[in-house]
Amino acid sequence: MIARAALLASLALATAAVAAPRTPQTAMAPVSDVAVMEGMPRLLSEYAFFTDLREQNPTWQVVPYRLNTPLWSDGADKLRFAYIPEGTQLSADGEGLLGFPVGSALIKTFAFGEGDERRLIETRVLLHRADGWLALPYLWNEEQTDAKLALAGARVEVVTPQGEAISYRVPNKNQCKECHSVDGAVVPIGPKARNLSDQWLAGRYEADTLDALPKVAVRLPLWEARKEATPEAAARAYLDVNCAHCHRPGGSASNSGLDLRWEQDDPVKIGIRKRPVAAGRGSGGLAFSIAPGDPAASIILHRMKSLEPGVAMPELGRSTVDEEGVAAVRAWIEGMDQ
């Protein structure tokens, strides 16, 4: 808890630093637009996103952010950053995904361990190029001095915050796209206005790097404060963030007919009394994705609790069970009228 607070504090500090007047600080090298726009840089350092790579201190052009409800990845700490080139702006699109100008980049570093023990495992970059977004995975070296392009992905032995020793999967380039794909094109997932804080958006607007303040009716709850939200809001936020990048029209799991986006309000589409289609043994012998009032009879929970490839959901990015997520979804299903 203390560690998490410290992390939040350090993020807030970093945010404050970049929210200061945007005068070029000549002591720092600018981000390499060539690296963002061309080729496949072999090393993370080539982008110059950070003044201190190991400490993950971003340059003045790179902004940290957090999501209200984040994607869970075996309990990894995630450090998220956005780079928007000088003289360009993000564009608001209602509650949805912010529009990122060509030339911008999203950077996400996965780490395990606290304080001095913190070990950076991988950094994923999403680069917005003239012909669309490109997703590339970088694997950190043992010395923690740099991360190297790992097109084919990797497996790394790590110990999760829950103390489980696992073989952690760094996705390959195609697997990046499996989640980041709508109608075959790579897109960002996280930075939707409804999953970002008011303050962060206001900060961007005031710094003139966001064209308008998006109007958001209902924000996704802060995950650590989800007890203050309704069980439905917590569960739907969790499913949106962890599942809906594939389980949506145009997504990698569109053929399932299951649509777990926050904005979907058709009960069958979000799984209520929806029969499985191509689940195979993933169904666990159960008849419905969500059986109202009966978590034990709901395929969705069965698959969240499984670790077996072919059964476990999400298919990628998970080698352990997210007990918090399971509890949130279970509470929601339990409270439904049968």
């Binding site: 195979g280 012998g285 298919e315």
Partner: protein, 404 residues
């Protein structure tokens, strides 16, 4: 410095490059096969060929291909084997998400989920591909062996699948499909065409599954309205394996001893098949039997034609409640064609049958009615008229050209 200069020059050149410069990338089994093969699949350019040298490739994770126009070729379905026995992640052995891909002459063994899935991958060819779960029928096997979905233009040819806990060769939510000259044994469903149109299933050998060839349409899916399916010249023999599908899936309700089963489809034509030794029904035509909530879904079969086929003389050991009594009531053998008696309305026949063929009906009165309420009787189906044009059915010609 040198690198960035090179990039600046090379990039425009690449943009105008054509597949005429296609490369061949040789991959050998052994240490690092996972990374080497995956990297080749990522770095391939359209038109390239990736060749799997003979041998067994031990893989720890799923593979994927997302580049158009790539051929992945082995040295034969016995020689080049992608072995997923040690797979730790991903929902399938190989995932293809790009168009105009050719997969040929290799095998996939023991994937934890599906074998080869191609999603939104138009104009794909599977030729001489083998997918095998080596322990035989087992509910812990993956669901589908060869699994094209949401695609236009699918050719599955000379391939072989066994052990799938759902369907061996499954084509879903697709159109312009040919599945031919392939072998499907020891799966729950041998070949399944689901929520798809314009399909030809011909020349296959389908045996020892729970059900041989299934043509289904299911509700609540992005693509519905299955139809225009021609099933001809297949051997559908003794599909007598007990159903080993995990409950909940629609195929878990398929009865042991089902030859060809058509559910909620229109314009399905069966001709010149040899269908025998399927103890519940050589041919079964039914409406979707479960409750559903989807105003756009049509649960009834329409214009299903059982034309000139050679059918077995009838089952003596059907997988139906009260089967023995039924067999006795029909004089020792169940007639080979089974219909549930349901049709959308009187203007369109559900089932039309060659006059020499016999069948029986459950005489159900409404969709969703339980089989326990059936009032079995002999089938009196109308005869069919002229055949239909099948122009535009089956895989596009250009896919054939790739087999040469």
């Amino acid at each position: 410095m040198t690198r960035s200069l090179f990039a600046a020059i090379a990039l425009p050149a690449l943009l105008v490059a054509t597949p005429a410069l296609a490369d061949t990338h040789m991959i050998a089994p052994g240490e690092g096969a996972q990374e080497r093969l995956q990297e080749a699949l990522i770095l391939a350019e359209p038109g390239d060929e990736i060749v799997l040298e003979p041998g067994r490739y031990a893989l720890s994770d799923g593979l994927s291909l997302d580049v158009d126009g790539v051929t992945l070729r082995g040295a034969g379905m016995q020689a080049s084997v992608l072995d997923f026995s040690g797979q730790q992640g991903a929902g399938e052995g190989l995932l293809v998400t790009s168009d105009n891909v050719t997969l040929r002459d290799f095998a996939v063994e023991n994937p934890k989920g599906d074998g080869i899935k191609s999603k939104g991958a138009d104009n794909i060819v599977y030729h001489a591909i083998r997918v095998t779960w080596t322990r035989g029928p087992d509910e812990n096997n993956g669901a589908y062996g060869i699994y094209p979905v949401e695609s236009t233009g699918v050719l599955v040819d000379a391939s072989e699948v066994s052990g799938a806990s759902d369907a061996g060769i499954y084509v879903g939510q697709s159109s312009k499909i040919t599945v031919r000259n392939s072998v499907a044994t020891d799966n729950v469903a041998g070949i399944e065409i689901e929520n798809s149109r314009d399909a030809i299933v011909e020349g296959n050998f389908v045996s020892r599954n729970t059900g041989g060839i299934l043509v289904f349409d299911l509700p609540n899916l992005p693509v519905m309205g299955g139809g225009n399916v021609l099933i001809r010249n297949n051997l559908v023999i003794a599909n007598d394996t007990e159903n080993f599908a995990p409950a909940g899936n629609i195929v878990a309700s398929v009865r042991r001893g089902t030859g060809v089963m058509v559910m909620a489809n229109e314009n399905v034509w069966l001709q010149d098949n040899l269908i025998r030794g399927n103890e519940t029904a050589e041919v079964m035509v039914i409406a979707y039997p479960l409750s559903f909530d989807d105003p756009d879904y049509n649960p009834y079969p329409r214009d299903v034609v059982v034309a000139d086929n050679v059918l077995g003389e009838g089952g003596t050991d059907p997988d139906i409640e009260g089967g023995e009594m039924l067999v006795a009531a029909f004089g020792g053998k169940l007639p080979p064609i089974l219909w549930d008696g349901l049709e959308e309305n009187e203007e369109r026949f559900a089932l039309l049958v060659h006059p020499d063929l016999t069948g029986w009906t459950l005489n159900l009165q409404r969709q969703g009615q339980r089989i326990e309420e059936a009032q079995p009787g002999p089938l009196d189906a109308p005869a069919y008229g002229q055949g239909w044009s099948i122009e535009g059915w089956g895989a596009p010609e250009e896919l054939e050209a790739r087999l040469k």
